[in-house]
Amino acid sequence: MTLDYSLFFFLLFGCLAIIFALGTIIAKKLMHAVLALFLFLISIALLFLLLNNEYLFVIQLTLYCGGISVLFLFATVLTTNQHETADKTNSYWSGFIAFVFVLALSLVVYSIDWASDWANYSLEKYGDPSLFREFSEQLFRNYPYTVAFLGLLLLATLIGSSKLALKEEAEAA
């Protein structure tokens, strides 16, 4: 059964996601950072698949790996100059703050008694094809206005970013 390997694959793709996320920070060239981001997003998509959500897996692949990666690629091409470096500011204190934050969150996760608090919850429906249909129904039944608002928001984003680009062209001309 494939389910027996789910933990192994989760650990594999989780570690890969962490490595690629570190790669976006460590990479000297911005192009390499964008490539690492692309691989990171694919790892996250596979984690979604392992967490029993094919819907978000597909959305993650199309929207993030397909759309946002290319957007960052264009931004890299359009904004890179010779003086581009991977300089960092206040590395020491920022690293300390991030470390303390991760430590605190990890302590919170560790301190919760998962065995008793979450004993009633299990993945009984794991791999059930009807999950997808139920999710879609719940999405449009419980959150119809939010979905409509998101559509409006994305439309406003489209118009706004076009206007930002066109305004500068008009000034240049």
Partner: protein
């Protein structure tokens, strides 16, 4: 039933959140800061999906979907703004954008 324990998922997303936070705090290039913000949002998404999967509800999945849409909008607007910044200042290094602080 799967053998993935919830704490393993949460520790993974915590580590990713820490990496994203470090990136946001330390990077100078605005594009790199946006990349780190994407890492932050994705680590939050893992938590949403994990809790939703374990609690047999659909709210977490829905929230993850909304977060994705918001992240796409944020990336598009952010990159449009920083492209304009690059045209005006010739650089997207955030520490060099001091026009509001000092008299140019």
């Amino acid at each position: 039933m799967t053998t993935i324990d919830l704490p393993i998922i949460l520790f993974t997303s915590t580590a990713l959140f820490g990496i994203g936070l470090y990136g946001v705090l330390t990077q100078k290039s605005a594009i790199r800061i946006l990349i780190s913000v994407e890492i932050l949002l994705n680590s939050a998404n893992i938590n949403f999906v994990a809790f939703s999967t374990y609690s047999e509800g659909y709210d977490g999945w829905t929230m993850a979907l909304f977060v994705m849409a918001i992240a796409a909008a944020e990336a598009a607007i952010g990159i449009a703004i920083f492209l304009n910044v690059f045209r005006r200042f010739g650089s997207v290094n955030v520490p060099s954008l001091v026009g509001l602080r000092e008299e140019v």
